[in-house]
């Protein structure tokens, strides 16, 4: 009679896909909060986005508080 068993196995390998996904989240999130000057919205709204700087203004207080350079 066959018997099915389960064991917990520790594996040291970190999945590459997880590293790639998290690295992308890191880079995009950091750019949005810390460095965007209208670049992201300019993909849709063109040059006007650099004047409005919507994301810059929305993240303005966090930008200062977290130590990122601001205007």
């Amino acid at each position: 009679m066959s018997q099915s068993r389960q064991i917990n196995v520790s594996k040291n390998g970190v999945p590459v896909i997880a590293i790639v996904v998290l690295a992308i989240i890191f880079a995009v999130g950091l750019f949005v909060v810390g460095f965007d000057q209208g670049h992201i919205f300019s993909l849709v709204y063109g040059e006007e986005a650099f004047q409005d700087m919507y994301i810059h203004e929305l993240t303005h207080d966090m930008r200062h508080a977290a130590g990122f350079p601001c205007h």
Binding site: A27, L30, L58, H71
Partner: protein
Amino acid sequence: MKTFLFILIVIASGASAGLILGVANLVFVEPSLDQATGIENQHLFATGEEKDTPEFQIKYEGYRTWQKSGQMLAGGILGISIGSLFGIAFALSRNALPGKTDIKKALVLAGIMWLTIYFIPFLKYPANPPTVGDPETVILRGILYLSFITISGFGAVGFYKLSQKLKTKKFIAIVGYVAFIVIAFITMPENPDQITAPVDLVNHFRMMSAFTVSLYWLSLGLILGSLWTHYKPHKEITSFS
């Protein structure tokens, strides 16, 4: 490793710590930001760019309320972003980190990353409140700040790798990193902007800023360590007959 669970707890811990950062900023940093934006308004009135009217004050208050609401959103985004880097570093270094529990290991790593990619760059390029930054230099300042973080962070990784090869003489790697940072500190250009805001305001703002960001790193280590302990994403269930 359970890939989806790993990503999920990294994002959850980053978002949680980021929301703590947002709340802490609203309590501890916003008073300084309000004071600084008030000084900016006085400059606008003095130069005639704006008039101190009830209409202006209503518009200004509405705008500031909107910006303050952004603290929580930005806290969540920044928390997840930095938390993702922390999650990658934790997963890759977990077996080498000192400490018997995952909470202790996560706190040790949070302390190392706080020092190397936050506090040391902060000492060179400290946070400034509104009224200090010149819009013309914002890109240069961004490049300098990011460069210093990169230099310090990769420097720490490089000297850690060196310490693994040195085995019994690990202190040489620590001394090497300190010397490396001192050289970078001296050779990197200064912040080009003059500080024209009151010194007390700037100093208080910097202390509160350092406090809330440090609280974020502490929270991040505790939360990720706790979630890792509970869910054990490194363990995989293997079935066999």
